[in-house]
Amino acid sequence: MSTTHEFQVGEPVHINGLNIVCNVEKELGSGTQGKVYSLISPDNSPLVLKWYFPSMATNEQYDILESLIQKESPSNRFLWPLALVNTPKKEGFGYVMSMKDSRFKSFSLWLSRKINPSFKALLTACFELVQSFHLLHSKGLCYQDLSLNNIYFDPENGEIRIGDTDNIVINGEDKGNVIGTPKFMAPEIIIGKTLPNTQTDLYSLAIILFYILFLNHPLEGKIESSIKSLDLPSMSKLYGFEPLFIFDPNNDSNYPDPAFHANAIIFWNIYPDFIKRIFVRAFTNGIKDPMHGRVRETEWQITLLSLRDSIYYCKQCGSENFFVPDSSVFEKLTIPVELGGNNSDFKVQNRSSNLEEIQSNSVCWNPQCKTLNTHILNIRIDDRLFVALNHDTKLFLHHIDPDHKYDFSSPVAEVSRHPTDPRVWGLKNLSAYPWKVSKVNGDVIEVNLKQSFSLVPGTQIDFGRSKGIVCY
């Protein structure tokens, strides 16, 4: 028995938009909207076909796809529709898109701890997500159904891919079949006040970032664990009508339950205050004031990159820890208040009595280690940012050229080791522009491509567009 909206293995698929004929390789899966098949293409380029269930193959969906295909993909991170597929032999329609490489894994594998990414990879993935949705939103488009089910990352380096792009519409047009995925939907959608828009996308994005960095839902605390059977009515209440952040500084009635939400507590005690402040804002003001209270993507970008730049390896066990310069230095950094700069009003609730101590003393979080890391080599650039200098640290245009923020295309500097004296560490110039380096004794030297200078605290570097100082 075969039905008119399903494909059999080997069946030819004519893709007129790409002027090719492919064959169905196999069924990859079935979702709420349709079935997805991998295709064998003439030039072996990895393609997949999504074919809608007849009830989902609406004229509106067709129009959405047509308009997405005409637009260019915001970046290669999106698995964008490439061509519509129609055939008189089948009911409805479908579209083809690129298949993601097998190195991209579902975040559910991280949440189930079946893969072992580093903090650096996770923060890179978070940054890429925020950057991709910033690009999408700045084109006036809205994703509508953002959840952990449709994003993927490479656990080795944090590169991401975004799937299910067929619900992307022009913001405010109220088109499409979906309103979102439970647990990721903004409260104002759940209570029926609005349909998905870019503001609700921002909320879903914050949920995803929290899930990835804390392995816990930001609203699942004591109130969640007191629910015996988590059904739709109780979910609507928890995530829609009475949402309360588990680390709300003014209301601890939904604080994490140590029996079920240990992850939230563990990670909250590891991250520096500046990242916790921005999450507090995302899930307090961000819930109360959907229009103006949400954390913008550009704010997430700066904060996530600062966190990634603060990673250092414990000298004893090698675990990734987060370095924050002492407050006298940190206050000088011009991290805006709204990003959680030190003057921010947002208090961070620390239940752990020794947390302050842990942070100021930089004690390794690894329970088997707990080594005190007193001196961490770092470079401060223009009082704008700081970067911990590890054996594998690289600097990019993002760091040294204020006009090239977020440019990570190729490194301009890397930490290097002295060729004959392994105790001496340096910073190697990988750019075509010479650096002017002022040594502590007042001498000024020029450091050209592939040359390094010794990382002596107090050394100042003129990168051309910015100035740095080595700190310890």
Binding site: S108, I179, K228, A262
Partner: protein, 230 residues
């Protein structure tokens, strides 16, 4: 280096097969088709639960013919094996409901769970007092909250009773006229319905407005051109 913390904490999700193996299931290879369909569904069920960040799936099964018995205790999906069942005896559906109602409270159910999924497969008429059993089942909070799905195997099944098991006005029993559609429906309940309780899926903008415990996507769309085998 491994990062701190552990796996995200999950809720228990009980998925229970309630299988008719009365004598009439011997006709036309119905019981063989059922055994085959459930075995077919297992790998799909495993794959679905792999991506699950919310549920620890536990599968169990009870059969009813003359009386009712548990045949598989709650088992993790990766360890779940279906043993072929044979058909003989009466259709004591009421006994099955009574047996079911004995476990649908805390304990043995967990303090922190998801609505259980109860799947009833039957081809005929109950021969005992099914009504008392059903009343008892629905008097249990977890019985009421459960996602109840029923599949009628062949045209002779009493769909009225299967409808009463589901509850009024929500969904209808699925009518499996032939082994192919039985396989499809079983795959659907074991993946889509499982995940409706366990793993949040995209919600559609236009739904029928009925308020239920769990939002269940539509059953597989099938054309009815196939010849009836049973």
């Amino acid at each position: 280096m491994t990062l701190p913390g552990g796996e995200i904490s999950k809720r228990e999700l009980h998925f229970i097969w309630i299988v008719d193996c009365s004598g009439s299931m011997r006709d036309d290879g119905k019981i063989q088709a059922l055994n085959y369909a459930i075995k077919e569904a297992i790998p799909h069920m495993q794959k679905e639960s792999e991506n699950n960040i919310q549920a620890n799936l536990l599968i169990s099964a009870l059969k009813f013919s003359t009386g009712a018995q548990w045949i598989i205790p709650p088992t993790r999906i990766n360890e779940f094996k279906w043993t072929d069942i044979e058909a003989k005896g009466e259709t004591d559906l009421g006994q099955a409901f009574l047996l079911l109602s004995e476990i649908l409270h805390i304990p043995p159910m967990t303090e922190r769970g998801l609505p259980p999924v109860l799947v009833l497969l039957s081809d005929g008429q109950p021969t005992d007092n099914f009504k008392d059993g059903l009343d008892k089942l629905l008097s249990e909070p977890w019985g009421r909250k459960a996602i109840r799905v029923s599949i009628a195997i062949g045209e002779d099944a009493n769909t009225d009773i299967l409808q009463r098991f589901i509850g009024d006005g929500e969904r209808q029993p699925l009518l499996a006229r032939n082994p192919e559609s039985l396989t499809k429906y079983i795959k659907w309940v074991s993946t889509v319905v499982q995940s409706a309780s366990a793993r949040p899926k995209s919600q559609q903008k236009y739904y029928d407005g009925s308020i239920s415990n769990v939002d269940i996507p539509k059953p597989p769309e099938m054309i009815s051109g196939a010849t009836d085998v049973w």
